[in-house]
């Protein structure tokens, strides 16, 4: 037998040795050339798009976050040119173009300190001249939280509660659907409907359903839970910041769980269909009941799907923006994101784009960099947990 194999292998080796020599003339090079030309050509649009709209924008955002660029600073190219020619005026937080004195003369990390420092809103001279910012400073102040970043970050983390709730519910429904019943695909379609619906339409519907006389309170028998009552914060009260508006936040959690359930259910149904049926049967023959089979056989097989889901859900959850923003709107009186419910992205949106009285893309970019680092750390942490579990 062994001799046969070696003979066959030898024959193959000979054949392999012969063929390249035949092709070593022009055709091989021509083919490689074609491969390289068309490979790059087919890829080019995607590479250009990614480099220009993601990587280039990322570099610009990083550079901007150290400067005092605002909507009155003129063209971005001259500005960056000044930065690279060693002109320190781009880091000057006392310049007129930045709207007056807001920091020191040379202060590249101003916006980062600004984001983290307490009471940043109303301590800077420039902020004091802005009536809007004074109000904001006051309403956030009083020793509860004086920092918009911590307030919105607390909201964002609160919304992450929806992830474990949604996970348990969707595994439950997925197990129900993957039973051998008729009409399973109909249920899949029905459960997926909220995922395809527009967020704004869903929010405007839920906003009325959650009013004091709305559907949810009528089921509970009258005006039981003031879901929307806490939409406008009572900043003069004595409650600390984190106890306020919990009902409003809970409502947004309910809505996002409802909206996101279908997508995860489909992933779990797909994962459950990949669970090894023979292992399951073997467990049942060995006398395991349904509960034990589920925990000892099904769940370990389902683990990769769950892990993927949790990672993507955390990344997406940290970027929550539209739901709270549409539900409670910008705080019209203050012209500022409603700090009771807004996610962290609202700050980037408000400061980075022309929605504030004098927009600082620099400030928005600094908030954006902080968000990117937080998401990166959370993702790495989850992968670290995953690797520890395998060991």
């Amino acid at each position: 037998m062994e001799e046969n194999i070696t003979v066959a292998q030898a024959a193959e080796a000979v054949a392999e040795a012969v063929i390249p020599e035949k092709k070593k003339r022009k055709p091989v090079n021509q083919q490689k050339l074609q491969d390289n030309i068309w490979g790059w050509a087919f890829c080019l649009p995607l590479i250009v798009g990614t480099v220009v709209f993601v990587y280039f924008a990322l570099v610009i955002a990083l550079l901007l976050s150290f400067t005092n660029y605002n909507v009155n600073s003129g063209g971005i190219w001259e500005y960056l040119g000044k930065m690279f020619s060693g002109d320190k005026s781009v880091f000057d937080m006392t310049a007129e173009s930045a709207g007056g004195v807001i920091g020191k003369e040379y202060d590249p990390f101003y916006w980062y300190r600004f984001a983290f420092s307490e009471k940043a809103w109303f301590t800077s001279d420039w902020a004091k001249t802005q009536p809007i910012y004074n109000e904001v400073g006051e309403i956030i102040g009083f020793g509860r939280t004086s920092n918009a970043m911590w307030a919105t970050m607390f909201n964002t983390v609160f919304y992450l509660i929806g992830i474990p709730i949604g996970m348990v519910l969707s595994v439950f429904f997925a197990v129900c659907m993957s039973r051998d019943i008729k009409g399973g695909s109909v249920f899949r379609v029905l459960y997926y409907l909220p995922c395809v619906a527009s967020t704004i339409a869903i929010v405007y519907t839920f906003r009325i359903m959650f009013t004091d006389d709305g559907v949810f309170n009528q089921i509970l028998g009258g005006k039981v839970i003031p879901w929307l009552g806490e939409g406008n914060p009572d900043w003069g009260g004595k409650d600390p910041y984190w106890t306020q508006g919990l009902l409003s936040k809970t409502m947004i959690v309910i809505m996002s769980v409802w909206k996101g359930l279908g997508g995860t259910i489909i992933l779990y149904v797909a994962g459950l269909s990949g669970v090894n049926a023979s292992t399951k049967e073997a467990a049942q023959i060995d006398g395991a009941n349904g509960w034990t089979t589920f925990w000892k056989v099904t769940m370990p097989d389902l683990y990769p799907v769950i892990f993927y889901n949790v990672v993507t859900a955390v990344i997406g959850g940290m970027q929550i923006y539209a739901e709270p923003e549409l539900f409670f709107g910008t705080n019209v009186a203050q012209g500022y994101p409603n700090l009771m419910t807004s996610g962290f992205v609202s700050l980037i949106w408000y400061h980075g784009t022309a929605k504030s009285p004098s927009a600082y893309p620099s400030q928005g970019a600094a908030y954006g960099m902080i968000l990117a680092v937080i998401i990166l750390i959370l993702t790495l942490f989850q992968f670290w947990l995953d690797s520890r579990k395998k060991d």
Binding site: N36, W38, G39, W40, F42, C43, P45, L46, G49, T50, V52, F56, A57, L58, A61, L64, I76, W77, C176, R179, I181, S185, F187, V189, L190, Y191, Y192, L193, P194, V196, A197, S198, I200, A201, Y204, I208, D213, V215, W258, G263, I266, L267, V269, A270, G271, S273, V305, M318, L326, I348, W349, T353, A354, P361, Q363, A365, G368, L371, A372, I375
Partner: protein, 343 residues
């Protein structure tokens, strides 16, 4: 004697003689598919009962999923134009107690909200007076068809090149592109805002141009699909003298059509519902805002309690996507399931 009998028979007696009550309970349990010490339930019965419970649970869940949509449709027929009945709208559970079927509403009858929406829903209040509902729909169609059709083709081209062509530096470029997924969109939002302003793209172009270059996730999923296609087709075509463009348009596009369609439909839905893009990059006073953005402005413009027209607009915003999904649900769900089983 008694001791002996007891000693011998205690275990047996306890197994055999259950009280009548326990027999009854066991019989009832067996009827519902649970085995007990007195009665053994048949497997068929257990499955039947399990199926019934599953159906009840799933139907309840499906009801929760569908009810808000029903509420939306019913609410779009409510009469909130009369401020005295506007409060009744919020108390609606199944059907508005005061619908627009009203002699005072001159046109449209029960569809009065839709009539107003199509006529002047988007051009009142602080809105641009020249703006209409149909303009918003037209904009939305442009934003969701042009970038998606072109973008899916460019993504497929990249996927084809990654999956089936051997070129220098392919894997490194792929990793380089895949790493871009890690960059959160909002982080670079401010820089994009500045850049688009510099490039004079803060109008319709902001929502069209970036999509034309394709998306990495779409390319990634189509690449996974293309790995399943046999390479021998391409080899055969090459031997017959076909170049790569011909192979791509003649073989790959038709063969990968299911995956391409599913990805295209998913990104169409994403673009149709894209609220953030228009909200950031397009000026609210401009003609180029999309449908969700127009709905946001309409909601702010309608006076206080008259929210039924907003719900009518919501129905009209959701309806096209739902119809599209209903038509292609097999394709879309199949593609999503493929994603789930691959992970």
């Amino acid at each position: 004697m008694e001791n002996v009998i007891n000693e011998n028979n205690v275990p047996a007696e306890e197994e055999v003689h259950y009280s009548t009550f326990r027999h009854a309970v066991g019989a009832v349990l067996a009827f519902f598919g649970f085995s007990s010490k007195t009665h053994r339930a048949s497997k068929k019965r257990a499955k039947l009962v399990g199926d019934i419970v599953t159906y009840i649970v799933l139907l309840f869940g499906a009801f929760l999923m569908v009810y808000p949509f029903w509420w939306m449709i019913a609410g779009s027929f409510a009469n909130t134009w009369d401020s005295s009945t506007a409060d009744l709208f919020r108390e609606m559970v199944w059907w508005p107690s005061v619908s627009t079927w009203n002699s005072e509403m001159p046109y449209g009858g029960i569809f009065y909200n839709y009539y107003k929406l199509f006529q002047d829903g988007f051009s009142g209040g602080i809105f641009n007076p020249a703006f209409s509902y149909w303009r918003a729909v037209g904009n939305n169609l442009i934003y969701s068809i042009v970038p998606v059709v072109v973008g899916v083709i460019t993504s497929t081209m990249a996927a084809f090149s990654f999956a089936k062509i051997n070129w220098f530096g392919r894997d490194k470029v792929f990793l380089f592109l895949l790493a871009a997924i890690m960059v959160p969109g909002p982080s670079i939002m401010a820089a994009q805002y500045v850049l688009y302003g510099t490039w004079n793209m803060r109008n319709a172009l902001a929502l069209v141009v970036p999509g034309l270059f394709g998306s990495i996730m779409t390319a990634f999923f189509i690449r996974q699909f293309l790995f399943g296609l046999p390479t021998s087709i391409i080899e055969a075509a090459k031997i017959d003298g076909a170049g790569y463009p011909r192979i791509f348009f003649g073989f790959i596009l038709p063969l990968a059509l299911p995956a391409i369609m599913a990805q295209g439909l998913l990104s169409f839905m994403g673009c149709w519902n894209n609220y953030m893009g228009s909200f950031i990059f397009i000026d609210p006073g401009s003609q180029w805002i999309n449908l969700p953005h127009a709905m946001y402005i309409m909601n702010n413009a309608v006076d206080g309690n008259n929210t039924a027209p907003v719900i009518a607009a919501s129905v009209m915003c959701v309806l096209p996507v739902i119809i599209l999904f209903a038509c292609f649900q097999k394709m879309i769900i199949g593609s999503l399931m493929l994603t789930g089983s691959k992970e």
